[in-house]
Symmetry: C2
Subunit: 285 residues, 2 copies
């Protein structure tokens, strides 16, 4: 149970957590903190938060749990702002899609108090963004990965875990570097490919016809290209090494396929496609 | 109205057309023709076809319209088998995903009778295949592209058009080369990318974890990797030039993104992702 939860960055991720915790009766009051008062007033009207604070220091000072759910590029500035306001018992966690970079930012900003920071990543979301898109069941049957620091108090990790579980999620733990590689493969690379494919087709001469004759599969395949460009720019920049490593693995795979097409090697194409179908069918079961 | 429709290759595509035309009352009898009697008996039991014929010549001889819905690599052999059985009034059409190669096969097999062949491509389908997956509304609000030959009788093209319209589709016409390029971009390339991504991840060491932590977006993005590998091998081989041209365009796009990530050029990444999101959002409206 959390008395006061402060959410910095009340969008799809932070807003959905607030709604889920209120529904579960797991949270007394939700303070929405941010720079944009108009945006926060909307979250208040939507019933996502209970109170608006544009002064981060004050918001954090009042809270026992703080979730920072801003794009990766904005984490450090937020951490620096809230660092002075942390009580010894305040727990800070985040919802960043990459963890190594957030941990570095937290170490820089919090100094010795970094032990109060429990890094987390809810693997949930839709291609929609903003507080209007928030809904209370976003985390049902979704996974949240925590990448605790060695210096974290076990009790703080437990509280962050309990919070996500109350929202309906299944919580796992792993090392931050491992997290960043796994997510680069299953999330970051697919988004890059979807953005790249849509932009590539959009730059062709017959663009109107291209999209006119795009079928259902294409619609599914490119849905994630509707995601927030700022968030994805930040992920590419802040999980750069893992993203580049996965792009290189993918490049090798595409080269294999291209060589097989060039050489009219049907056997090789069938082998690759069959292996992929098998893996996809196993995964979706 | 068709008296007897012969479907060679009673799978998702052929089976769904049969069901749609029966429902619309547009077709007297549907003959399912193929080499595999057991498979055809199943289609009969499912009510997809009215009659089983393993003798292509006999099936075609009885029919006024013939739809060949087999993988691209099997088209020519089917054309060669049915060529001798064509009455002067029989119309043959196909459902191949590429058109240049099918037209060449038809010219080789039908000779002077190629004027009775109206090439077509229903842009519909799901990642499922086989007659069990057939359903009567597959073509509702879907597009079918015809790429008529100069030698086609206008009346034959009209009849093929009417057949697809009766099944619920909207019918367009274009040249076969243009068709092949457009589809290479909107369908063939996305499938190649989906197969490649899943296979690439499946070959990593942490494969169990990879798929365990894959989220909703990944599921949509890779659904088309469950498609029939034989069909997609054939598309790669038979629409080779257009597929390679599109793969090259895509390669240039991915190179741009990779360079931007390497150079930590956030402005360029934001530009590409924003352009893609805009195009995707416009398309889905």
């Amino acid at each position: 149970m959390i008395n006061r939860l402060c959410i910095i960055g009340v969008g799809l991720i932070g807003g959905s957590l607030a709604l889920a915790l209120k529904k579960a009766g797991f949270c007394g009051e939700v303070i929405g903190a941010g720079r944009n008062r108009e945006h926060l007033e909307k979250a208040l009207r939507l019933g996502v938060i209970d109170r608006v604070e544009t002064d981060y220091t004050r918001a954090v000072h009042l809270s026992d749990m703080v979730l920072v759910a801003v794009p990766l590029g904005a984490m450090k500035a937020v951490f620096e702002k809230i660092a002075p306001a942390l009580h010894p018992h305040t727990i800070v966690t985040d919802a960043g899609s990459a963890k190594m970079c957030v941990i570095e930012d937290a170490e820089d900003a919090f100094g010795i108090k970094v032990n109060q920071f429990v890094p987390g990543h809810p693997i949930a979301g839709t291609e929609r963004s903003g507080v209007e898109a928030a809904f209370d069941s976003l985390y049902q049957r979704r996974r949240v990965i925590l990448t605790p620091l060695e210096s974290n108090r076990a009790d703080d990790v437990k509280k962050v875990r309990a919070m996500w579980q109350a929202a309906g999620a299944e919580v796992d733990e792993m090392g931050p570097r491992h997290h960043d590689l796994i997510l680069a493969g299953t999330s970051h690379l697919p988004h890059i490919l979807a953005f790249s494919l849509v932009d590539c087709l959009n730059r062709l001469d017959d663009v109107d016809e291209i999209f006119k004759f795009a079928a259902g599969g294409f619609r599914d395949f490119t849905r994630i290209a509707s995601s927030d460009p700022v968030m994805w720019r930040d992920i590419c920049l802040h999980n750069r090494d893992a993203v580049l490593a996965m792009m290189q693995r993918f490049q090798q795979e595409v080269d294999e396929v291209r060589h097989a097409v060039e050489a009219e090697d049907g056997e090789q194409l069938l082998k690759i496609f069959t292996r992929a179908k098998q893996a996809r069918d196993d995964f979706s079961m």
